[in-house]
């Protein structure tokens, strides 16, 4: 069997049992990248030799009986805003086109310590916000289900690489939905952990109080495995939380008996159109897929209750305003002194922050606290909630509007604003393109969120469906 078809869990087991060589696994992924990424553009840098060297070292360690780490020999990729020591890290921008950091992102250090091997760096929207932009040094990644379509962003390359089978798992970042949006459009799993759960140190910031680092994987079990390595207190990240880390994989099971799940329907049924206009109405296929997913959760033993929160726009606009103010402060000097260094999308979107007042920002943070309290009250009555993700299939790549990031209803933003863990899981297809919903929990309840996601996944077949481009490569003659 082509080893690139294995999940992280399957490959890790095969390596541990000496049925699979890390060298063979790395070679399989490198061959796929070489064969397919010319069309997908999911990598901006492929570390052929470094990955081979790491794989050979892993194989030698196995031979010497020193193999260790739950991700031992697993080839992964990093969004190109994760700093990598001695390896170019561009943030998708001409501004850092030749930047070679002196240090590793803490999350990469943790994955490396668990045994992971770095295959390369993934395409990203410029500074995790500006894209898809054809004027950047690297072309935008393309959706593996249909390469004429958008994979969402900003962790575009990471999601595309995982969905197309060009790496076993990848890291993304999420300030308003940049992990969960690409996971939804590419038909994979993406987790935005609790704010403070995974270190942000060494990752190019977009917005200090909203940025989250997290994994993109093919299954929820794989997500749990990466989280086990990633979740830790980092005293050098001011946002890091010193909270015990549970055994995420042990929490997974096939049933949801005894769980109460809140369903937030009004975000997509009413608020999207009321707050953002008629173009934001969910597709009929999406509504049907969402309801079917809810019935599946019920069939697994969960009790579902309707939840009513503040309108979606209250969450989405507070999130966007805070993001804009913090992002503009980060880039103001460069915008004044060398605006030509930035792509059209990144400059236009972030420069809007120049026109916010200090009072606007403070008011948004006051609203944030109010909405966090509302969330906390809601979670007193339920274990987790489910709500929509993107409410239709991916649009064409050449039809993504410049202002879509502000025009469109954002179903993911409430969980950035509240810092709550949120998982995107596939729930169906429309016109051959994936659909997804979100499972979210109170702060640090990743185990419950993963438990629900895993049980749902085991009861459905959506995660087993892969794009045609993810099929094994033809054998060489």
């Amino acid at each position: 069997m082509d080893p690139s078809q294995l999940t992280v869990a399957e490959a890790a087991r095969a390596i541990a049992e000496r049925r699979l060589s890390p060298v063979a696994l790395v070679e399989a992924y490198l061959a796929r990248i070489d064969a397919l990424d010319g069309e997908l553009h999911s990598f901006v840098l492929v570390l052929h030799e470094a990955a081979r060297q790491a794989a050979r070292a892993a194989e030698q360690a196995i031979a010497a009986g020193h193999a260790g780490g739950p991700l031992f020999g697993i080839p992964i990729a990093l969004k190109d805003i994760y700093k990598t020591r001695g390896v170019r890290t561009t943030a998708g921008s001409r501004r850092y086109q030749h930047h070679v950091p002196q240090e590793d992102a803490e999350s990469w250090v943790r994955l490396k310590s668990a045994g992971a091997i770095l295959l390369g760096k993934n395409e990203t929207h410029e500074f995790a916000i500006g894209g898809p932009d054809f004027g950047l040094p690297f072309p935008p990644a393309r959706n593996p289900w249909n390469t004429a379509h958008y994979p969402a962003g900003s962790s575009s390359g990471s999601a595309v690489a995982v969905a197309a089978g060009l790496c076993a798992a990848a890291m993304g970042s999420d300030t308003g939905g940049s992990i969960r949006g690409p996971a939804a459009y590419c038909g994979i799993v993406g987790l935005k952990p609790t704010y403070g759960r995974v270190s942000r140190r060494g990752v190019f910031p977009l917005s200090y109080t909203l940025d989250h680092c997290g994994p993109l994987t093919r299954t929820v079990e794989d997500c749990a495995m990466l989280m086990q390595a990633l979740a830790a207190y980092d005293p050098l990240d001011p946002a890091s939380a010193d909270v015990p880390v549970p055994d995420y994989r042990a929490a997974l099971g096939p049933r949801l008996d005894g769980m109460t799940i809140g369903v937030i329907r009004h975000f997509h049924e009413k608020d999207a159109v009321a707050g953002f206009g008629p173009d934001n109405a969910p597709s009929a296929a999406y509504v049907e897929a969402f309801e079917r997913a809810c019935r599946t959760l019920e069939s697994l033993g969960a009790r579902l209750v309707d939840l009513q929160l503040s309108p979606l726009i209250d969450y989405a606009d507070a999130n966007r305003l805070i993001m804009l103010a913090e992002a503009y402060a980060l880039h103001e000097r460069d915008f004044r002194e060398q605006p030509q260094m930035f792509g059209r999308h990144m400059f236009a979107r972030v420069a809007l922050g120049a026109f916010l007042s200090a009072a606007d920002y403070v008011e948004a943070t006051r609203q944030r606290r109010e909405l966090c309290r509302e969330f906390a009250r809601a979670f007193a009555a339920v274990d987790v909630v489910v709500s929509a993700n993107a409410t239709g299939p991916a649009p064409r790549l050449d039809e993504v509007p410049l202002w879509g990031v502000f025009e469109r209803a954002s179903y993911t933003a409430p969980y950035n604003l509240t810092g709550a863990p949120a998982l995107s899981v596939p729930i169906g297809f429309e016109n051959g393109l994936p659909l997804a919903f979100q499972i979210a929990g109170p702060p640090f309840a990743e185990a419950a969120v993963l438990r629900v996601g895993h049980a749902f996944e085991q009861a459905t077949e959506f995660h087993r469906q892969r794009p045609a481009i993810a099929a094994p490569l033809p054998s060489p003659r």
Partner: protein, 62 residues
């Protein structure tokens, strides 16, 4: 869709921000300014004086 801010008013905001924009970027941002107005409207509401912001000062540990 709301009317975009006038060129004259927007030019003042751009000057105050210290930005130098070519005509294309000026016009693009002028069109996008309506989102700033909407976001500010969404978060500006009457609150009790003791409604604290989400982020408070924390003494750093070194």
């Amino acid at each position: 869709m709301a009317e975009p801010i006038s060129r004259e008013r927007f030019a003042l905001l751009v000057e105050r921000a210290g930005l130098t924009l070519d005509p294309e970027r000026f016009e693009e941002l002028r069109q996008g300014y309506r989102f700033v107005e909407r976001m500010a409207r969404t978060v500006r509401r009457r609150r009790e004086r003791d409604a604290e912001p989400a982020h408070i000062f924390v003494h750093p540990q070194v």
